[in-house]
Symmetry: C2
Subunit: 211 residues, 2 copies
Amino acid sequence: MEAKGRDVLAKDRILDKAEELFAQNGYFAVSIRQITAAAECNLAAVNYHFGNKKNLYLEVFRLRWIPRARRIHDTFIGILGTKNEPSLRDILHSLATAFIEGPLTDDERERHHQLIARELAKPIGGLDIVASQIHQPFFNELSDLVKECLPEGQNEQELMLKLFSVFSMLTFFNFSRELVTIITNYQYDQAFKARLVNHIADSCSSGIAYK
Amino acid sequence: MEAKGRDVLAKDRILDKAEELFAQNGYFAVSIRQITAAAECNLAAVNYHFGNKKNLYLEVFRLRWIPRARRIHDTFIGILGTKNEPSLRDILHSLATAFIEGPLTDDERERHHQLIARELAKPIGGLDIVASQIHQPFFNELSDLVKECLPEGQNEQELMLKLFSVFSMLTFFNFSRELVTIITNYQYDQAFKARLVNHIADSCSSGIAYK
DNA sequence: GTCTATAGCAGGATAGAC
DNA sequence: GTCTATCCTGCTATAGAC
């Protein structure tokens, strides 16, 4: 039993460190040697547990990124559930809160967004997995929620663009922190995040409701 | 004179191919061998002309990215100059047009945004150069332009966030095309880009003017 | 300035002992 | 399952001929 217990732990340690390093530095900048050293296990362990480096990378998305995306989603649904007949702004505020102040630790959130940002810029396998399992269903769900707050007969195309705009802000403010900080000198402390959430909710709800 | 002429060309060819490859694949995924092969010159040419790989990468930003950002900026100012007393929407429409349908070819635009997207996710030297020479002054300029369309006494912090929101959309729709296409099935053809420009102008102007 | 050749090193992957 | 040792490939960078 000890042997089996250690296995699982070694595999998990590799996944954790691999995710951290891939997020920080990108797939090609990270070596198996770095990963196994950080995970305090043997060099051969990656090939033993995951076959090869590429599959380890994909498993990071399957076994770490997706479950975390589900936690954010569930947090969003949870916050939204506390409101009676939520307004458009309620929906967006819940969404922004889940994304920016949600269930993830700061480290987790940073990793989460860096991983997807890399895939958005240059997909090397993770985006396909994540788009079909998370983004596609989530956009549909969100679209249905938002439609209930809008007059009938919304243009579907237009609505999609609006949802992407929300998503663009959530993504940008989460993963371009460096630029935001360089330009404004604001640190991402609790006060600034709360301000961001309100800004996104306000600005997106007026953006979606226009016309 | 032929000799000197060839030098300049070789250096330029290296810069062009380096930019293309760095944009597509990221700094670490690209080798000097790939670059010199694509530029049809000798392996040693990179070290001769640029010292080392890292400096070649930075020169791509200094000699290629920044001049192109200036072209986009000048296009924006040019379009804006055709309007008398431009409204907020005029400003944003000109800006979105310059970014999404502007002076760059499709290839140039793709490279431009992929390069900066990578630096936003994980700066390795390019962002510092670009933020100080382009973003910082541009945000200030844009801020002044927008203020003329808004009532006095705008909150500076709030205005900065609003400008970042515009920037987030411009960036997202330019560099997350893969995701947009996966989810919506829209290709980035001329019609879709025009639609995007209008969407961004409408949605951002109502977002900025709210309250 | 350009090229060939190569030094010197780091990477992914695997074989085989334990 | 874990570990060591190692193969082989590909990389950056440079020395030195032309």
